[in-house]
């Protein structure tokens, strides 16, 4: 189903749309406040963007350097071309450790690879330990936002879910109570776990280390209690030097939630005595995106979610309307590269207002890439006949002054004289909730001819 159809369904409950919009706008405002507190913010964004530009232009060498340094530090490195390889590698590592109970912190990559169902089918329990992810997991849903996975759920809905799955008492959606109940439940899961999976926020070529950021502490609880820690990363997570983290960590949390930094920014360089760290480096379509000059910089993304919080369409359509692992503006330029047909409506789910590009901490020109995807989609994907023919004819009309005069005249005539029931028919989507412009008098061409005889 297209974004517009799903969004229209989401919009049937206007109160919920208002609630969703306000919740995310609040995050956008927190981001603004946090950014205002940093001297040189725009320069910081600019620098981050340039570092990412350098990374993509030297990605193979950085990955090789990263691997060599990681191996030196006793970290095991694996490479996966696609989701299937990734899932098999993770499973194999877990199998070697005879791991049956796995805790996983937030990783959009493992969502993208559909790791959970793969492991579950092999008899391994996977518990998502980020509270938001835990909520969507027990609800058997997918995250609707990359930083706030359960932002689409009200506290009352969470209350009901917890009653059903954790046996909690009804609390009218008391967040403290619910969080604390989840804490107790998840502590048992951490203690039982024989394997931990995390994502990777940054992988440093120079040191072979990785940085994982969380607010809850769930990545560390998992990684330090289980005998094996598997960290999964897309190839684009590499940064050249550890000092570059100064740039990225200053931007990440401020852009994401308005915090000056996440509670925990953990730097893993060597496994603890008696434990293992495995890093799985994944392509899964990224090298293909790298080949597309116009869309390459989408790989700069550090997954802060700021473009979602600011997007007036995302806020009013909900993450699930995008039907993609990564929703919102950034998802709308990443997803078509993976499956053009499935995601062909996403680049049109935008007014090209450009707010996304302005908040992006790594300055991805998101709205310009949406425009570029549109040009490709109308060529490669079959378009609704009516839309296509109208636009093709429009092109002819606008390129020809005689046709333009004719069409202008008849459109004005229609608007002025056609009976209301004809104008506001089913075919007129504009007119469902809006009046058409009132045609008052002659057009400007005619006015000009009459009133400015000497010119033109």
């Amino acid at each position: 189903m297209s974004h517009s159809k799903k969004a229209a369904i989401f919009n049937k409950d206007e109160a919920k749309v208002n609630w969703h919009d306000k919740a995310l706008w609040y995050v956008r405002e927190k981001r603004d406040n946090a950014a205002h507190g940093v001297k040189g913010w725009e320069y910081l964004r600019d620098t981050a963007s340039k570092i990412k530009g350098n990374v993509l232009s030297n990605l193979d060498n950085y990955l090789i350097e990263f691997e060599a340094n990681a191996i030196k530090n006793n970290i095991k490195v694996h490479w996966a071309s696609n989701a299937e390889e990734h899932n098999k590698i993770v499973h194999k590592i877990l199998e070697e450790h005879n791991a049956k109970n796995v805790v996983k912190s937030k990783s959009m990559l493992t969502e993208e690879c559909h790791l959970n169902p793969f492991l579950e089918a092999k008899g391994i329990e996977v518990v998502d330990t980020d509270l938001g992810e835990y909520i969507v997991q027990i609800a058997e849903e997918t995250p609707s936002h990359i930083v706030l996975p359960a932002i689409h759920k009200t506290k009352e809905e969470v209350d009901e879910l917890f009653q059903e799955h954790l046996g909690t008492n009804p609390s009218n959606g008391n967040p403290e109570y619910l969080t604390n109940e989840a804490r107790k439940h998840l502590l048992n899961k951490f203690i039982e776990a024989d394997g931990a999976i995390t994502g990777v926020n940054f992988a440093i070529a120079e040191t072979g280390g990785i940085v994982v950021c969380t607010n809850e502490g769930n990545a560390d609880m998992g990684a330090h209690l289980a005998p094996v820690h598997i960290a999964c990363m897309g190839i684009e997570k590499i940064i050249p030097k550890e000092a570059d983290l100064g740039v990225f960590l200053r931007l990440l949390a401020r852009s994401a939630t308005g915090q000056p930094i996440t509670t925990y920014s953990s730097h893993f360089n060597k496994p603890a005595e008696g434990t293992e760290i495995h890093i799985v480096i994944v392509d899964n379509g990224r090298t293909e995106q790298l080949s597309r000059e116009d869309f390459r910089s989408s790989l700069h993304c550090i997954r802060c979610g700021a473009c979602m919080n600011t997007c007036p369409i995302y806020r009013r359509s909900g993450g699930h309307s995008y039907d993609a692992t990564i929703p919102g503006p950034i998802g709308s330029i990443l997803s078509p590269g993976k499956d053009l047909k499935k995601h062909s409506s996403l680049p049109f789910a935008s007014t090209l207002c450009g707010s996304c590009s302005n908040v992006c901490p790594v300055k991805i020109n998101i709205h310009e890439q949406l425009y570029k995807w549109r040009q490709i989609i109308v060529k490669e994907e079959s378009q609704p006949v009516v839309k296509k023919s109208i636009l093709k004819i429009t092109g002819k009309v606008l390129g020809n002054r005689t046709l333009y005069n004719l069409v202008g005249k008849s459109a004005r005539f229609m608007l002025k004289y056609a009976p209301r029931f004809m104008v506001y028919s089913k075919l007129n989507t504009w007119g469902k909730a809006r009046e058409l412009p009132e045609v008052k008098n002659e057009n400007f061409d005619t006015w000009y001819k009459i009133n400015r005889k000497n010119n033109g």
């Binding site: 969004a7 009013r316 040009q375 092109g395 606008l398 057009n443 000009y448 010119n455």
Partner: protein
């Protein structure tokens, strides 16, 4: 200075009063202004819909019509932005480059090129400024709420000099109204909701007249206002600046 007046197709056909106000305003400012009468459209509706290829005819015609002028001035930020940004699909002849460089949105032309902010207008109403996205984030007519640069606004500079006009502050300074060209029909539900929310912000802040430098946004908002019979009017900024009430 020879100025070519660019009147976007929908303004020509549906909002001639905006075109007239623009022309009269430029004449008041003693500009030698011409209206090339073979003009049609900048091609934006096609480009934004993915049919950039089919817009080349319109783009070429635009260049043909305006190549002889020192400046091309139009009362629509998004059309001017399209000329400047997306005429890269044409072969970059000296004529195309000239047209792209010399195209200006009306307010920007008055403030930046003519160096004027007070043009002797008066308009005794409470006005809310809708900062249209392409003018704001594309042409940089003002600072954007997202970036940390110091505050400026070309339209505010002009409106603050209009006698009697009270510029009202909005809660969300520069959120999109949801027009977005064909977005307004292909994503009808969201488009309408965005427009309603923008209008509510103006209502909440005591606005009597919504203005802006892009009449396509205003057309969308006006369509909603008229359907819902809200006590608000929309006027293009050229109409306010040309007003001596």
């Amino acid at each position: 200075m020879k100025v070519g007046l660019f009147i976007p197709c929908y303004i020509n056909q549906l909002f001639p009063q905006v075109a007239i106000a623009t022309l009269e305003l430029l004449e008041k400012l003693n500009i030698d202004v011409y209206y090339p009468n073979e003009q049609t459209c900048c091609g934006q509706p096609l480009g934004n819909s993915g049919y950039e290829e089919d817009s080349k005819g319109a783009c070429r015609l635009f260049v043909e019509n305006f190549k002889e002028y020192d400046y091309i001035v139009g009362p629509s930020g998004s059309c001017i932005y399209h000329v400047k940004k997306h005429f890269d699909i044409l072969e970059q002849t000296s004529e195309v480059i000239k047209v792209r460089n010399n195209a200006f949105e009306l307010c920007e032309f008055i403030v930046k090129i003519l160096g004027k902010t007070d043009i002797g207008a008066s308009f005794p109403y409470k006005v809310g400024l809708h900062k249209s996205c392409h003018g704001l984030r594309g042409l940089h007519l003002g600072s954007c709420s997202e970036t940390m640069d110091s505050h400026y606004s070309t339209e505010e500079d002009l409106l603050n000099n209009v006698k009697g006009l009270e510029l009202m502050s909005l809660t969300r300074k520069d959120e999109c109204c949801g027009f977005g060209g064909t977005f307004s029909v292909f994503e009808e539900a969201i488009s309408v909701k965005m427009g309603k929310d923008r209008i509510q912000d103006h209502l909440d802040n005591g606005v009597e007249v919504i203005t802006g430098a892009d009449h396509s946004c205003l057309m969308h908002l006006e369509g909603l206002l008229n359907r819902n019979e809200e006590p608000l009017k929309v006027m293009h900024i050229a109409e306010i600046l040309n007003s001596t009430i």
